[in-house]
């Protein structure tokens, strides 16, 4: 009997193996592969694995209820509406958002019940998870998404256009409320490929800024941080002392840093009409040339992507004069400098510009997008977003998360909270920097809110690495080639007919 059973069992095992995954054959991927992970994950749009690139039909405009349709929907406590919210916040931001959900669930008059789930991992991981959930027909109702990711979801109509909800007489925003938002933040969730649509709601924004060691700067004879790119380069090289492992600039090869440089040189990452990439312009060439010179002259040091936040450690240890990074790092820089062997005066400033009279600042941040659901779920999701961005809530959120408050009326509260935070007691210049951050909003620019920007970031990152850091190849030729490939990706991911 056994003789008969054993081969059957063995054969079944073979079939099971044949149907099973080969996954364990390979060691698991590093937690954050340098090529797919944000080198500086504070806020920069997370590069992710290339999204399936298929030309897709533009979503039917009737999919979201028209304004009158939205007004016709009724939510009531008698019939609770359940929605699911995926995020990847951690620390104080996570605590705040979870406590807000708890409060919202208890107090909202519409019977909305929000379930909140933290997705451990990077923005890229969240993006993959959402795509898998979409494939399986079970996306969340709300999720954090960068503008380019929201555009990708929108290609198949998985993310909805929020404009009917914003304009709703019953559930929407008044003109005064809309005016209270910084216009740039609202604009940043629009994509020229989907005219008139709002694909996400801004909750979190920060800027690419330059962290500066003020004491060191004084030693170099400079009374204030550099305002022009020329001053920046000179100071970076003056500060560098490679023999003692001291450098002018700590460079994380995060493409938002390169984009910030392109903006500072007066260029764009994507053309205004979103028809083609534009980082091979003169501004792009000048940006890459500047970086190349900084590395060639040993004025900059690259922070490997595996060395997460290594630039903060080196800044605190006074090994680097400047760091290009997100403004969200402010509390972390404060903590690290306070704990350093020799604390020093520091701050962050607007990134130096080619023409300081016409500054352009890279401002970025994931928004909250609403996914297709029942009309009630879509409305409930909007009402949750609306409640979260009420001035008093968004002010507290800005304090907890370190992001900018997205509403003008909330900004003073956030600025005051940072000013009075004991963390900055010894760093008054840093506390003032947070207030000045809001002045930068008027000069804000978005990198590329189009689907397929993630693989393009990888292309750009490779060019910077090869040409500027390793010193190989011709600047213009490398940028042209990258733009040609990027335009292919853009074309593949554009809505049909665009």
């Amino acid at each position: 009997m056994i003789r008969k059973v054993l081969p059957v069992m063995a054969t079944l095992a073979v079939f099971a193996a044949a149907c099973a995954t080969p996954a364990p054959q390979q060691p698991p991927a590093p937690t954050e592969a340098p090529t797919t992970a944000p080198a500086q994950p504070t806020e920069a749009p997370a590069p992710t694995a290339a999204a399936p690139a298929q030309p897709t039909e533009a979503p039917a405009p009737t999919e979201a209820p028209a304004a009158t349709g939205v007004d016709a929907i009724t939510l009531s406590k008698d019939k609770p509406t359940e929605i699911l919210f995926w995020h990847r916040y951690s620390g104080d931001a996570q605590k705040f958002v979870e406590s807000f959900v708890e409060k919202f669930n208890a107090e909202n008059e519409f019977g909305i019940k929000v379930t909140i789930e933290k997705i451990d991992g990077s923005y890229a991981d969240l993006y993959s998870k959402i795509n898998a959930a979409i494939e399986g027909g079970t996306p969340p109702n709300i999720a954090q998404a960068y503008q380019n990711q929201a555009s990708f979801y929108r290609l198949d109509g998985n993310v909805i256009d929020l404009s009917p909800y914003i304009q709703s007489a019953k559930y929407g925003l008044s003109q005064a409320e809309i005016d209270d938002y910084y216009p740039f933040f609202l604009e940043s969730d629009k994509n020229p490929q989907f005219p008139g649509e709002v694909l996400g709601w801004p909750t979190s924004r920060s800027a690419a800024v330059l962290y500066v060691n003020l004491d060191w700067l004084k030693e170099l004879g400079a009374n204030e941080p550099p305002k022009t790119l020329q001053e920046f380069e000179e100071l970076a090289c003056k500060a560098s002392d490679p023999a003692n492992e001291r450098y002018g600039l700590a460079w994380q090869n995060d493409i938002s840093n390169f984009a910030a440089l392109v903006f500072a040189n007066g260029g764009r990452v994507l053309s205004e009409d979103a028809q083609s990439y534009a980082f091979n312009s003169e501004a792009g060439v000048e940006s890459l040339a500047l970086l190349k010179r900084l590395f060639e002259n040993k004025c900059a040091v690259e922070i490997p992507s595996a060395e997460r936040f290594g630039e903060q450690n080196r800044f605190a240890a006074q090994k680097v004069l400047f760091v290009m990074a997100s403004s969200t790092g402010l509390p972390f820089y404060a903590d690290s400098v306070a704990k350093a062997e020799k604390p020093f005066r520091w701050t962050y400033v607007m990134f130096p510009q080619k023409d300081p009279n016409k500054p352009v600042v890279d401002i970025y941040g994931a928004s909250w997008s609403v996914f297709k659901g029942t009309p009630e779920q879509q409305l409930a999701s909007w009402l949750f977003l609306k409640a979260f961005t009420e001035p008093e809530n968004i002010a507290q959120w800005a304090v907890a998360s370190g992001y900018m408050a997205v509403r003008k009326s909330a900004a003073p509260t956030a600025i005051e909270a940072v000013k009075n935070n004991p963390r900055y007691a010894n760093f008054p210049e840093a506390a003032e920097a947070y207030a000045r951050l809001y002045d930068m909003v008027a000069f804000g620019a978005v990198e590329a809110p189009v689907a397929g920007y993630d693989p393009v970031r990888k292309l750009m990152s490779d060019v910077v690495s090869k040409v500027a850091i390793k010193g190989e190849g011709d600047i213009k030729a490398a940028l042209d080639e990258a733009v040609a490939q990027a335009n292919e990706v853009l074309k593949e991911n554009a809505p049909k007919g665009y």
Binding site: I2, R3, V5, L6, P7, M9, A10, A13, V14, A17, A18, A20, T21, P22, A23, P24, Q25, Q26, P27, P28, A29, E32, P41, T42, E43, R88, S90, G91, E117, K118, I119, D120, G121, S122, D125, S128, K129, N131, A132, E135, G136, G137, T138, R308, F309, N313, R314, A316, A317, S326, G329, P331, F332, D335, S336, K339, A340, E341, S401, G402
Partner: protein, 308 residues
């Protein structure tokens, strides 16, 4: 008398020390191995040292901040602080880190047991039995071995969804794809093929059937290969991130590697010493297990022709 004391003792009572002939090629190989070995160990040492450093020492980039080179004291409380920061599982009241450990042990235990069991049975069939389409089936097994994980990740995740198996956020979803594994079948089969056929004939003469032959003779003989497979499965499962992240919804269903990534993925900055403390706690079980099974592992690698 004089003659007795003059006998050279070295030849009579001692074994001459083995002579290692060092030539240039061998020296270069050893040097390369030493360099590679040291390079492999440095990150691990750095992780261990950082995990017990003070935040200030991390910021000051001090490699050894303790006596005799510095005045700091080792901060073993970093481990407790990291566990505290990871949070608490609201359902059980357990620190979330321990909940993650328990989940990982459960998932790893199921996968290792199942994968080893199915691999041994299938390998035996391929090595020892004759049945129709054996060659084709084996090729099919090898084909699954060659499909990149990325290709099957999303379809598999979709299968776990409520529209299909409805296993999302459950232990079955976490383990299902790994219960049988082509690599394991291949590895054990290679070992089984080396066992002389005469052993089977002798066992048959003694009245043993397939199951008795497998359990009493083949499995004991294949112990190094089986332990190697179990260890590799343990490491892979312990470190598995993407799949678990995809098919779980709540934090208290996740495993240590997902928890670790969640802890590391902060916005704006990180306390490196706490991150390293968590990393040490996550890696430690694998290191301990490897130390205990190193002998079998090495033997398994050499006898099956497996190369890393």
């Amino acid at each position: 008398m004089a003659t007795a004391t003059s006998i050279p003792l070295s030849r009579a009572g001692r074994r001459a020390p083995p002579q290692i002939k060092l030539n240039l090629a061998r020296t270069i190989i050893y040097l390369i191995l030493i360099v590679v070995g040291v390079a492999s160990v440095i990150p691990f040492v750095w992780m261990l040292l950082t995990s017990v450093k003070d935040y200030g020492d991390v910021m000051s980039l001090r490699f050894w901040p303790w006596p005799p080179l510095g005045n700091s004291t080792p901060r073993f409380d970093n481990f407790a602080e990291a566990i505290r920061l990871i949070g608490v599982d609201r359902d059980t009241g357990l620190p979330m880190f321990f909940r993650h450990i328990l989940n990982t042990l459960l998932v790893t235990g199921i996968i290792v047991a199942s994968s080893v069991g199915t691999s041994v049975l299938a390998a035996y069939a391929f090595a020892q039995l004759q049945f129709p389409a054996k060659g084709v089936l084996f090729i099919l097994v090898l084909v699954t071995f060659m499909i990149p994980e990325e290709l099957v990740l999303v379809p598999r995740a979709v299968m776990m969804n409520k529209n299909y198996l409805n296993w999302y956020n459950t232990i079955p979803a976490m383990v299902a794809p790994f219960l049988a594994n082509a690599f394991g079948i291949f590895l054990i089969r290679q070992f089984f093929l080396q066992v002389p056929r005469e052993l089977y004939d002798a066992a048959r003469i003694d009245g043993a059937g397939h199951l008795r032959y497998l359990t009493s003779i083949m499995i004991p003989l294949a112990k190094p290969a089986i332990v190697t497979l179990a260890l590799l499965e343990f490491i892979w499962t312990w470190n598995e991130f993407r799949w678990i992240q995809l098919v779980t919804a709540s934090s208290n269903m996740r495993t240590v590697s997902v928890g670790l990534v969640g802890f590391l993925q902060t916005d704006g900055g990180a306390q490196t010493q706490l991150a390293m403390a968590v990393a040490v706690m996550v890696v430690l079980p694998i290191v301990v297990l490897y130390l205990f099974t190193q002998r079998y592992f090495t033997e398994g690698i050499t006898t099956t022709g497996l190369k890393g």
